[in-house]
């Protein structure tokens, strides 16, 4: 049986990254001076898992690095080392390095060896610096490695003799004795002897059982606790006997060369060992599908709460019951309409619930995104010399995984902005009568079918006068033009607009807010800002919960039905002929409350036979896309409904003016309009140089 160990790499990486997150958030919460023992323990466990995993999968560099980290943590755990701010800083740096090393290993790339070496050196420096608390002799091992510290208490005796007799079911628990032997060897000089007397005759040989026992002789300077630690995972699955020989040290008879025995042991063990996946019980087991996916490369996967899957199974069960109930009505002679109606109502309910339930699987709490901010705020505020308290509200609010991934970068940008431009230096705050430390609040909540994310600070707020001056300077606003306050604030979303007096490496280059706004718009969301000069700003992002479903307005043009996303619609109105103006006899405009908006005759643009080409007979739907407005001329407004977005690109290609398609209740397909694309298409169609060849004359 050959095992492709690579298929478990993805699982290892995923778990390691999760472990790093645990470590990071643990370290951030760690109180200097009086650490919570359980917190240190959980950090230590995460590091230990990464070390174990990287050893198993042959990522030695990661393993060695983590080992140092672990040693440091172990000392903190035992209380032999004080938790200082410097130590935590170094540990955080180490977490970053580990993350980089892991990403590099995952992508098959090289990591920045110099940077890692620098952190490595810092860790060693920390270790060497020792601790304020004196090391209690003997029992408390300062380090598990066979380095200098071993001599501190190692003089006690001669060689260790370890009798290691695994139970036959050792492999079933996912443990590999060879790994344990290697780990022992790493502790110090050792000799290993295998006892093959337990091997049954070939016919009775169970390939998944362990029949071999080992006697290991180990350098006497190694701590007992270090040896115990090696066997930590197999304690319950093996008989382990530790004995220390007198200083003279009885030689184990017939001791063979380390490597030879190791190889001899390795051969049977490797061929029969079950996949060493998930050595630790209790954590979630992976489905076969996940493994298949993992083998295929970097497929994106999602962790789903088992409760969600259970509810899905329940719903499918109900659906099956409804189906069999409807099936019983299949009697052409006698149709029971009441029962049929009842069944159909039930089917509708089942389907709706099933849809909601399936959508919920894609939903993840926003904490996945928020969790990175404590670190970011900590690092950035100390760099800027500001005191900032971060408050996170509603981190359990769920939203679609795709949306979650796409707002991560905009959020980082907004938080950096708030820290850099928003919150002032402590002295300035004190002078303004505010507490020295600023407060940054990240809040998320559901509102209807949307998620609202707010980033607010109690900092300086936007200076309207400076914004206006800057805008005038750049010619965005006329010299004596005055803007209402909200329009004024919106200036910051203008490309290249920055009010920072000097450019720092944090922000101030004037790229960003426009990109943030564009990203949010691409997700079908809106962003606005409220600010009070001197009191702080709040940026509010409103996003649809999912990209798979949208609220649509069904409209009819000729015999075709189209869907206009409700978010794009400003209003729908009946045409007042006196307000229609034309430019150069061609382009039609409609005067709407002092603004002139172009009229888009959809039937012309899309080449459809309209019911009427006279504007008075139809309606104008005013839409907004990419900051521009237009009035779409249609024959009739139909209903509003939620539609499931299907891509046209799966089997065809992108079509200008169309963002996708959906299937209506009667099974026919309807196109979903893309407001921005439609306006652009209309502009193009009016350029005489570029007539659209395929548009049929209406």
């Amino acid at each position: 049986m050959s095992i492709d160990i690579a298929q478990f790499h993805q699982v290892f990486f995923e778990e390691s990254f999760e472990g790093l997150e645990v470590m990071e958030s643990g370290l951030l919460d760690l109180e200097v001076g009086q650490p919570d023992a359980e917190a240190i323990n959980s950090i230590f466990r995460a590091a230990h898992s990464i070390k174990g995993g990287s050893g198993t999968f042959g990522f030695t560099a990661i393993g060695e690095f983590t080992h140092l980290l672990e040693t440091l943590l172990d000392e903190m755990r035992n209380g032999t080392r004080e938790v200082t701010r410097e130590a935590v800083d170094v540990l955080l740096l180490a977490v970053d390095s580990l993350r980089e090393m892991l990403s590099a290993a995952r992508d098959g790339a090289d990591f920045d060896a110099e940077a890692v070496a620098a952190v490595h050196a810092k860790l060693e420096q920390q270790l060497a610096a020792g601790s304020a608390v004196p090391v209690t002799p003997a029992v408390e091992a300062t380090t598990a490695s066979a380095s200098a510290s071993a001599s501190a208490s190692g003089a006690a005796g001669g060689e260790w003799t370890i009798a290691f007799a695994p139970h036959p079911n050792l492999f079933a628990t996912g443990n590999d004795p060879v790994r344990i032997l290697r780990e022992l060897r790493a502790l110090g000089d050792s000799r290993v002897q295998a006892d093959l007397s337990g091997l049954p005759p070939y016919a009775e040989f169970d390939p998944e059982a362990c029949y071999v026992r080992w006697t290991i002789t180990l350098d006497g300077t190694v701590e007992e606790s270090a040896i115990r630690e090696v066997f930590e995972w197999v304690e319950d699955d093996a008989d382990i006997h530790l004995e220390r020989a007198s200083a003279a040290g009885a030689e184990v008879p017939g001791s063979a060369c380390n490597d030879a025995v190791d190889e001899a042991v390795a051969a049977p063990a490797l061929t029969v060992a079950p996949p060493p996946v998930e050595r630790r019980g209790g954590e979630d087991r992976r489905s076969g599908e996940r493994r298949a996916g993992a083998a295929g490369g970097s497929t994106s996967s999602i962790r789903v709460d088992i409760g969600k899957v259970d509810s899905l199974i329940n719903l499918v069960g109900e659906l099956v019951i409804t189906q069999s109930m409807l099936g019983q009505l299949d009697d052409p002679e006698h149709v029971d309409f009441d029962k049929l109606r009842e069944g159909l109502a039930q089917l509708e309910r089942n389907t709706r619930e099933l849809q909601e339930s399936v959508m919920r699987i894609r939903m993840l709490p926003i904490s996945f995104s928020f969790n990175r901010f404590p670190r970011l705020v900590r690092d950035l505020s100390s760099k800027l010399g500001k005191e900032v308290e971060l408050k996170i509200v509603g981190e359990q609010t769920e939203l679609d995984k795709t949306v979650l991934e796409k707002i991560a970068d905009p959020l980082v940008h907004l938080v950096r902005n708030a820290l850099d431009h928003g919150i002032e230096q402590p002295d300035r705050r004190a002078a303004a009568g505010k507490p020295r430390h600023g407060t940054l609040t990240l809040a998320a909540r559901h509102e209807g079918g949307n998620i609202v994310i707010e980033i607010s600070d109690d900092g300086a707020g936007l200076d309207c006068d400076r914004l206006l001056a800057k805008a005038r300077e750049r010619g965005l606003v006329g010299a004596d033009e005055h803007l209402p306050e909200d329009r004024n604030h919106e200036l910051i979303f203008h490309p290249g607009f920055s009010t920072a007096k000097e450019i720092s490496d944090v922000s101030g280059r004037g790229v960003g807010m426009d990109v943030v706004k564009r990203n949010i718009k691409e997700l079908g969301g809106v962003i606005d800002i409220q600010s009070k000069f001197g009191a702080g700003s709040t940026i509010r992002i409103r996003l649809p919960l999912t990209l798979a479903i949208l609220d649509g307005q069904l409209v009819r043009v000729g015999d075709q039905t189209y869907i206009v996303p409700l978010v794009s619609i400003i209003e729908s109105l009946q045409v007042d002929p006196s307000r229609i103006k034309s430019v150069v006899g061609a382009a039609e405009l409609y005067r709407l409350r002092g603004e002139y908006i172009p009229i888009v005759r959809l039937y012309k643009l899309f080449g459809i036979e309209p019911e009427s080409s006279s504007l008075e007979d139809g309606l104008l739907v005013v839409i907004e896309g990419e900051g521009q407005r237009a009035g779409i001329f249609i024959d009739e407004l139909l209903g509003q409904q939620q539609v499931v977005i299907k891509s046209l690109e799966t089997n065809y290609r992108k079509v200008d003016g169309i963002s996708g398609a959906t299937i209506l209740g009667d099974g026919t397909v309807a196109m979903i309009m893309d407001a921005g694309g439609l306006i652009a298409l209309n502009r193009q169609a009016h350029k005489p140089a570029n007539p659209s060849d395929n548009v049929k004359a209406a």
Binding site: L605, F606, L648, T650, R653, I663, V669, M671, N694
Partner: protein, 173 residues
Amino acid sequence: MDTSMNAQSIELGMTDNVGNADQYLTFLLNGEEYGVDILRVQEIKGWMPTTKIPNTPEYIRGVMNLRGAIVPIIDLRLRFNMPAIEQTATTVVIVLKVESEAGERTIGFVVDAVSEVYNVSAEHFKAAPDFGSQVHTDFIRALATVDEKMIILLDIDRLVGSDGILQAPNASH
């Protein structure tokens, strides 16, 4: 010749695989008989009204809902510049898998009627003669004679690929 969509004949053909001959599903178009590799055929559907896609060549009839997937429909008559006809009782949509540069696509093709399933081995292939610029023959894989009839075997990937209809609008302009 039976011109209706005859499920029985398709079934008989399927079980009748002789030697290393490939099987071809043939269909009728303006009196001519065309064949496509049967392994590409996903299903055969009756004609259903389609939803138009704006600004596409006329031979793209629009899209259809195929069990939740949005599938474009190409009218082969119009594609081959044959006179358009009204849909008849035998008009069907043959849904094929097409390999394109952009990946595998599912596309429906409107034809007059489904005909037969034939085993055609490669030695019966005759290369299509060069018609000059009059007829593009890129997408004709070969001509084959079966039961004294000429069958035009189509290379469906080339047929779709040569049109560039699957390319994004910006690329084709």
